[in-house]
């Protein structure tokens, strides 16, 4: 018999969101992974904002591919980053928006404010 020794926290919903950054064409590319709820939103916000402030970007592009849960805290986070870039004349992009996330975004009218594209390459084409 095979004994699985791996930690299970990821599978039972305790997973924190991981963030990865990448900079191209004045744009902060953020990869979100895990679950975007109120508990995780504060830390994600602080990480994105400090990276954004320190390195003088114009736009933010958030890749939601690895996100497996989002509630209305995600709307707050996205609206907040929209305000941040909009004040400086920049744009906010979202990529890899899945069916569930889209359902919540639809309710909030965010589609009118942010540009949604398939993936990062598509964003780069429109910059």
């Amino acid at each position: 018999m095979l004994i699985e020794n791996k930690k299970t926290s990821n599978k039972i919903g305790g997973k924190e969101v991981n963030i990865k950054f990448n900079n191209q064409k004045n744009t902060l590319f953020v990869d979100l992974n895990g679950e975007l709820d109120h508990h995780n939103a504060k830390r994600i916000r602080e990480k994105i904002d400090s990276e954004f402030d320190e390195n003088g970007y114009k736009n933010i592009s958030i890749n939601l591919k690895g996100l497996n849960f989002m509630d209305s805290s995600g709307i707050g986070l996205i609206m907040g980053r929209y305000k941040l870039v909009n004040e400086l004349g920049g744009r906010l992009f979202l990529t890899n928006v899945n069916f569930r996330v889209n359902k919540i975004l639809d309710m909030s009218g965010i589609h009118k404010l942010v540009d949604i594209y398939e993936n990062n390459e598509d964003v780069l084409k429109h910059l």
Binding site: I12, G13, G14, K15, E35, D37, H38, H39, A41, R45, F69, M70, D71, S72, S73, I75, G76, L77, M79, G80, R100, K103, I104, M107, S108
Partner: protein, 145 residues
């Protein structure tokens, strides 16, 4: 008559948001829900528990009670706090209404609960607390006769 029931008490710590939604989703599994229905339930529970934590208790650590009942093909979820309460429930239910914009709340929590569940009832009294009752109906019979 209730077919099954469960009750959970947790402190209002934000790491319990994930715990609460997973527990309720596990309880709902006996109704043979679709993946979509499970996602609806998780999201609605997350909204109600988050509200108890940030609005009800304003980050003090107090107890939240979650009760679930299965009655025929129906799942009832009751989420209760004993915090500040809601003075104007009608206003609170409006999309985009939030009393805490400085926390980047979107004001969409009740709208999400209403959209993802079949019904939403809010009972609240100022300085007594808030009780949210949500119901989701399932097509298939939950138990064989």
């Amino acid at each position: 008559m209730k077919d099954n029931t469960m009750k959970l008490e947790i402190p209002s710590k934000s790491q319990n948001e994930a715990f609460a939604r997973v527990v309720v989703a596990s309880f709902a599994a006996q109704l043979d829900p679709t993946i979509e229905e499970i996602a609806d339930i998780k999201t609605a529970v997350s909204e109600a528990v988050t509200n108890a934590i940030i609005h009800g208790y304003e980050s003090k650590i107090e107890k939240i009670i979650i009760e679930c009942n299965i009655i025929d093909n129906r799942l009832e979820i009751i989420i209760e706090d004993f915090g500040v309460g809601i003075s104007n429930i009608q206003a609170a239910r409006e999309p985009f209404y939030t009393s805490r914009p400085e926390l980047e709340r979107s004001g969409m929590g009740f709208t999400v609960m209403e959209t993802f569940m079949d019904s939403l009832e809010i009972c609240s009294e100022e300085n007594k607390g808030t009780k949210i009752k949500m119901v989701k109906e399932f097509n298939k019979p939950s138990f064989e006769e």
